[in-house]
Symmetry: C2
Subunit: 257 residues, 2 copies
């Protein structure tokens, strides 16, 4: 509505900013309402007033950053599909998947430099509150990208593509969550001209490698089996279990192996 004063919207934003920062630092379960409210310089009850609950607050934090990212990803995939049609290849799809995040990261929006770190945390947080939200809100876009990858990589079966995409996306999330993103990216871009393109190229090259790697057949598997059966290797970790189920009373566990 009208709301002449300028304080109300500011309070919500300050809470969101503080919560986001604490979320990136230690994850959802780690951040406390008292930490959030004191960092935002608002009253403890302000969170409950504006968001209702801690779960709803993290949903708002996630939506604020992930909704625009999701929309840009879809828009970019649309643009590539319109431009290339049947000639769409998997590099195009990867660009549509990565470029929006890289652009946000390289923008001068507040907190943009921490965006990749935030993205990694959001995708790796163990809390069901976070995982369920992401898995229910951005499934549609994920399905679109899955379908696009399937079109550009017809040699992969549905299950195999799922395995590789899971692998690739997990890799990206984990790398970003590590927080080394800054140092890593700076290293590769310090003497280059087009930062955005080079970051894209680096990430995409690894992804393409994981997506296009030849599928191991029985013969490759048997090679690994031969390695595993080498003398001095075969017995390592071989669980020769004579004790049925209950492990002996030793403080330092010798069993398991």
């Amino acid at each position: 509505m009208v709301t002449a004063r300028l304080s109300p919207a500011d309070t919500k934003t300050r809470i969101l900013d503080a919560a986001e920062s604490l979320f990136v630092s230690g994850g959802f379960d780690s951040m406390s309402m008292r930490q959030i409210t004191s960092a935002a310089a608002v009253n403890l009850a302000a969170v409950n007033y504006h968001f209702g609950t801690k779960d709803a607050l993290i949903h708002a934090v996630l939506s604020r950053k992930l909704d625009p990212l999701d929309a840009q990803r879809r828009a970019m995939l649309d643009a590539f599909e319109s431009n290339y049609g049947a000639k769409l290849n998997c590099e195009h799809v990867l660009v549509a998947l990565f470029l929006p995040a890289v652009r946000i990261f390289r923008s001068d929006a507040p907190g943009a430099d921490r965006f990749l770190h935030f993205l990694g945390r959001a995708y790796t947080d163990p809390s069901p509150v976070v995982r369920d939200f992401i898995q229910t809100h951005y499934i549609e876009t994920l399905g679109r990208f899955f379908f696009a990858f399937q079109r550009t990589l017809p040699e992969l079966s549905r299950e195999d593509l799922g395995f590789r995409l899971n692998f690739a996306m997990g890799a990206l999330s984990s790398v970003l969550a590590g927080g080394n993103t800054h140092r890593l990216i700076r290293e590769f871009t310090q003497q280059q001209g087009d930062h955005e393109a080079l970051i894209l190229a680096r990430l995409s090259s690894l992804m393409v490698a994981a997506l296009k790697a030849p599928l191991p057949g029985p013969q490759e598997a048997s090679e690994f089996g031969a390695m595993a059966n080498l003398p001095g290797v075969a017995q390592i970790g071989q669980v020769l279990v004579e004790t049925t189920e209950s492990v002996p009373s030793s403080t330092a566990s010798a069993p398991t192996t």
Copy 2:
């Protein structure tokens, strides 16, 4: 150490089992002492008596599973280096890195079927209690594997290898932490003979692809740059920035990563 009765060791083990299960489900910060003790059917204070603190408890939980894994990894790398010497290749190193985990996963030890899930959680948990413990206790083995990879992949620079290893290990952890591992892996292995070898081959092929992918140069980067500048793509997510104060400010403080 006398402990004639059978209860004391049992109490510790039950606590460890309950804590491990809850850790896999929701991470470190999510699991509560009351959840743990009630699941283990012991008194609330039993945890503090046997382990001292919640942090020490999770350290014990991690050590119980990760120490044997770490030892087996080192032993297997030793065996491969003895067998192959200078002819060691990066597939060998990958087998030494993965096979111990796969063997534990496929053993009939209690909770072995959840081992990969546990491993993923341990490597991705956001809590400093977990991260610091892992990074301080298993650094030595990580260094050994890094050195082994460096020998078998001399064409990669130290920094590039670090980036790719980070990528590959993050992928593995994230895939495992996802929990879909069981269903996914079962799908690919249900009608095959040598499960262990095939799982190894699958994981290794993706890792090898990520480790051996050609490093993108300026020309590849410019191709991606061209994609990003297509009509209908260039303006998506472009944060119309007129203020270009902090451009390529090389704030790279730490030289070597």
